[in-house]
Symmetry: C2
Subunit: 618 residues, 2 copies
């Protein structure tokens, strides 16, 4: 396209953004208008994308980090012929694919955006796949707002991008100087952004974001820059082209009042069609093939040995990586503690050291899975809370990622509460479509690490720091949604202790003591917290009438809530009691910690006795 035509295309995108928001009665036209010329040049001159085959491995990727500017994205889709004008005007309607913020309900969207500062991190993950794994010359374009540059996650991404020399990544910052409620800190000072990105190892280009020739040259320069990512810092005006709103405060996230006049001012509707370039030839879909290998030879542990579940995770992941070429691993600079280092040493080409940047670690995983890889990302369970918003958005993105959190609970001992995962089960359970697993021994851990590979959504497995006895044979199976009854005397059981992870071993000790007291109890290892094994819990309730849950986690959101939820279906519920970490721990040995929190064998024994004594037999 000639530059004049490109400018016309920019106006068309503006008009269509205004029209879409007007039809919806809500949305962000002014944030779309500032970036319209950037979008026009990218779409018409630089992006290589086969809209008929969005899964084509050679496709470039476009991540709209400023997801609220979705009217621009949808106007671009229309210009490319991917959607029609009718669909454009369904924006934000019930059942429309054109949501307020883009999600993968649209086949051309890899990951959902709308929580700001996440587009670049995910784009880094996609670009890492291209650079280090696929070795396919696709490019990743991320269009970001200027306000979101205040998010720390952007700087985690900036550092990762230059560290990995992602010259296949271009960030375009739409510097329109206005945030939601007023001016940004930096206003139109492009240099301020350039200085920072430059200091983080980026190539930067400053342009007038409404000069299509200038923008075009910048994209070309980005494409020819090697060994570092490029940021195009574009000076733009919010609401560009419509005097009533242009460069003014108070018009964020609002349709333009007089849309008809605005469209006229923009020169009226246009009907330009863009033939988007297809990906380079020679890149076939099969490039991503052959990722699945042979049978997984999981580690095998002997019953009675003392092995930490974190260690079993490390060995199992290493084995999974040997069997499957699509497995990749990430860790937050604690791989020697979490045991991800076993994988890192065995498969260095598929290991991504994320340093102490948990948000970027999760975003990298989301980016990698969008390219067909199977990521396992691991840190201390406590520090995964750092990435909560990324995990939440990963669920909206319908991403399939495996998360592993080590150093669960007070059982870690002397390091103290800052290092203890005590909220992680609540966090992961509350994420849409998640799976939450919490094994108690090494063989169980290994099996579950392999099983989670084939699930959908966000899968979480919690590991423990200390050694625990191996209680299951290496050939035992552990279906997701299952549990194991470790002790039972059938209908003689007076109560059922429901435990997971470290408390399983405390529960077994308590069961021994209780048996000595003449109180037979059932012990259930509820290794699958979501989904939960309702049938086994029902049986236990029917047999005993009272259940005691015990968990190394705060009382809210964990095992106790999972068990209670199993009975929240309108049927009569059994008597329930729960033991959990209600104190604020300090330093102490693991045994002292379990005792202080009231979740050790002694506390379980006392609680069961109390519970059983209170039951009036009919």
């Amino acid at each position: 396209m000639h530059y004049e035509e490109l400018a016309e295309l920019g106006q068309q995108l503006r008009v269509d953004a205004v029209r879409a928001a007007d039809a919806a009665g809500s949305g962000h036209p002014t944030s779309s208008m500032s970036a319209a010329d950037l979008g026009a040049v990218l779409l018409a001159h630089h992006l290589r994308f086969d809209f008929d085959h969005p899964e084509h491995p050679g496709n470039d990727r476009f991540v709209l980090s400023k997801g609220h500017a979705s009217p621009l994205l949808y106007a671009m889709y229309k210009a490319a012929g991917a959607i029609g004008d009718d669909e454009l005007l369904t924006f934000r309607e019930l059942g429309s694919r054109l949501e307020g913020h883009p999600t993968p309900r649209l086949p051309w969207v890899d990951s959902a955006t709308g929580s700001l500062g996440q587009g670049l991190p995910v784009g880094v993950g996609i670009a890492m796949a291209g650079k280090r794994l696929d070795e396919i010359p696709f490019r990743v374009y991320v269009l970001s707002g200027d306000s979101e540059m205040a998010e720390g996650s952007v700087w985690e991404a900036a550092e990762a991008a230059s560290y990995h020399q992602l010259d296949n990544l271009t960030l375009i910052v739409d510097v329109n100087r206005l945030g939601q409620r007023g001016p940004t800190r930096e206003g139109h000072d492009l240099d301020a952004y350039a200085r920072r990105l430059h200091a983080f190892g980026w190539h930067t280009i400053e342009v007038d974001g409404h000069d299509v020739e200038d923008v075009d040259r910048a994209f070309a320069e980005a494409r020819s820059t090697i060994r570092q990512p490029t940021a195009i810092l574009a000076r733009t005006l919010k609401g560009k082209g419509v005097k009533a709103v242009e460069d003014q405060e108070g018009f964020h996230g609002k349709p333009i009042k007089d849309a008809e006049a605005a469209i006229a001012e923009l020169g009226g509707p246009r009907h330009l069609h863009v033939e988007v370039r297809r990906p380079e030839q020679g890149v076939s879909q099969s490039t991503l093939g052959g990722k699945s290998g042979g049978e997984v030879e999981l580690p095998r542990y002997d019953i009675g040995d003392e092995v930490a579940t974190r260690t079993a995770y490390g060995h199992a992941l290493e084995a999974l990586g040997t069997a499957r070429a699509d497995v990749v691993a990430l860790d937050g600079e604690v791989g020697d503690s979490t045991r991800t280092e076993f994988f890192a040493k065995a498969h260095p080409d598929r290991y991504f050291e994320s340093f102490i940047a948990e948000q970027q670690m999760v975003a990298s995983a989301v980016g990698l899975q969008s390219r067909g890889y199977l990521p396992y990302a691991c840190s201390f369970a406590a520090f995964l809370t750092r990435a909560h918003d990324f995990l939440r958005m990963a669920a909206v993105s319908q991403a399939g990622i495996n998360m592993v959190g080590s150093h669960a609970g007070v059982a870690i001992g002397p390091d103290g509460p800052s290092q203890m995962g005590l909220e992680d089960l609540a966090m992961f359970r509350s994420i849409h479509g998640s799976t939450v697993l919490y094994p108690s021994d090494a063989n169980q851990t290994a099996k579950l690490i392999a099983t989670m590979a084939d699930l959908d959504g966000i899968r979480y497995l919690r590991t423990s720091r200390g050694d625990t006895p191996v209680i299951y044979g290496p050939d035992e199976t552990f279906p997701v949604g299952g549990s194991k009854v470790l002790r039972t005397h059938g209908d003689d059981d007076r109560a059922a202790i429901v435990a997971a992870g470290v408390t399983v071993h405390e529960a077994l000790k308590a069961a021994d003591t209780l048996e000595e007291y003449g109180i037979p109890v059932r012990v259930i290892d509820l290794y699958s917290l979501k989904p939960v094994d309702k049938d086994t819990l029902d049986d236990a309730a029917a047999a005993t009438g009272c259940l005691l849950t015990v968990e190394d986690h705060h009382p809210e959101g964990g095992l106790g809530d999972a068990v209670a939820e199993a009975f929240a279906d309108g049927r009569p519920a059994p008597r329930l009691t729960r033991l959990a970490v209600r104190n604020l721990p300090a330093s102490a040995s693991p045994e002292e910690q379990l005792h202080a929190a009231g979740i050790d064998a002694e506390a379980i024994t006392a609680a069961v006795k109390l519970l059983v004594e209170r039951v009036v037999t009919p």
Copy 2:
């Protein structure tokens, strides 16, 4: 002290760090040894601190961001005479104040550290208090590791510090080049850190961190730098002074094997005492007095009016700020939507715009409360998940902060799932010692905003985007841990609907319909989710035998779990059913969203009918 003596003090701190970790059998001596000379110079020449009066407003503040280097901190305390040698050797023992990572169980620690990348953000909050509120010339010193510079939160803090021209803040980065599992990205490249901090508006000084004269000059230069914060980038060696570990990988977080030899190599124990300088004269404790003003004149709304709870929050906070001079407010660049802007306009001197940096927003609140202020920090409920790790650590810090999350649930309508708070109740409930409130009308919101001011710990209030009818008079009271029975027919009630926020209004509509069907029901407004009103729930269970919870939140961790937990005390539980958001929402109107999620009046009516029909009357 002469420089030779300072160097001796550095050796003493190393020896004591080695001894403490040796006594504990765990801990991080090598990370302490790299920073020992920095600590010595700071303690002896620059810090002004009255250890007998840690609450003295003129005290400088020292935040050990690399909290794992706690042996250094405790060795400094010993050198200053604040603790004795006996206590030093209780490091990491049960009951000792000297925890693995420092917490405010020690009177000289303002906030807990140990989750990396949080010390600078909290330090920024403390420095903001000094600069913008107290106007007391204390200084804030933050000692950070180099690894943790990879955390995005550090760069949120860096930007906030230069924006607020915090020349009372000095960051010391202990660049020992080694992280936990190996080298950092930047190694000993001090320039790499300097370039970045400089680009973010900081004054930077590069020094040899083992040259006490060099370090001393740097601290003096930091003190004389105006209108910008200073970072001292210190080249150091991990394990400095003990050849067996110095500058070597594999010795992170481990006591030194041959401690005796190491102590000998360091020149043996020393007994230097440091007279730490007291704060400047003329700064009295009363500076922080007079913060409480008159009666709060809360906004009053008429029953039947339609008012969004977010609006009531804004007006109530403004009123609270008028009555109490210690109230400060923060928002994440969405104050026009959350309504924090009402406070910002009325009390601009006590409003802190945090831009889109939720981690820094919470850290600022933690810092401000440590100086005696009463912060309210607000963003969309969904985006508060970004600060989960900071909230978790705030609880360990025993901080008292008020958090407000707006745009709760699917009821926001067309913006889609990225903007919907659907995990926030789970997150806040699982935080130790938290309070969780979720009002349904404007008067209730106003009252709870005032009430939460006087609670301890992390207080959370959830607001809604859309207008809802005012159902309570302005003089009604809403104790924390209470609830309101909005409909009842006494023992004739066939079921109880337990709701909060927007679902209260749906429940009332359902109750009307059910009454037409001849099914009288009780409606409980459970505005306090933690603590929860067990008595009222017990009464409802006794009267009806079956409870239906309905919430605009994922099924895990919210209202349903809170109600279930109320019955998890070993007593027979009622039949429970829960309605919650189980779908992945898209764009739609608020009404369509509530309907699609199955939490509107129609869904409640259907669920109650089903529940009641299943109950076999005795």
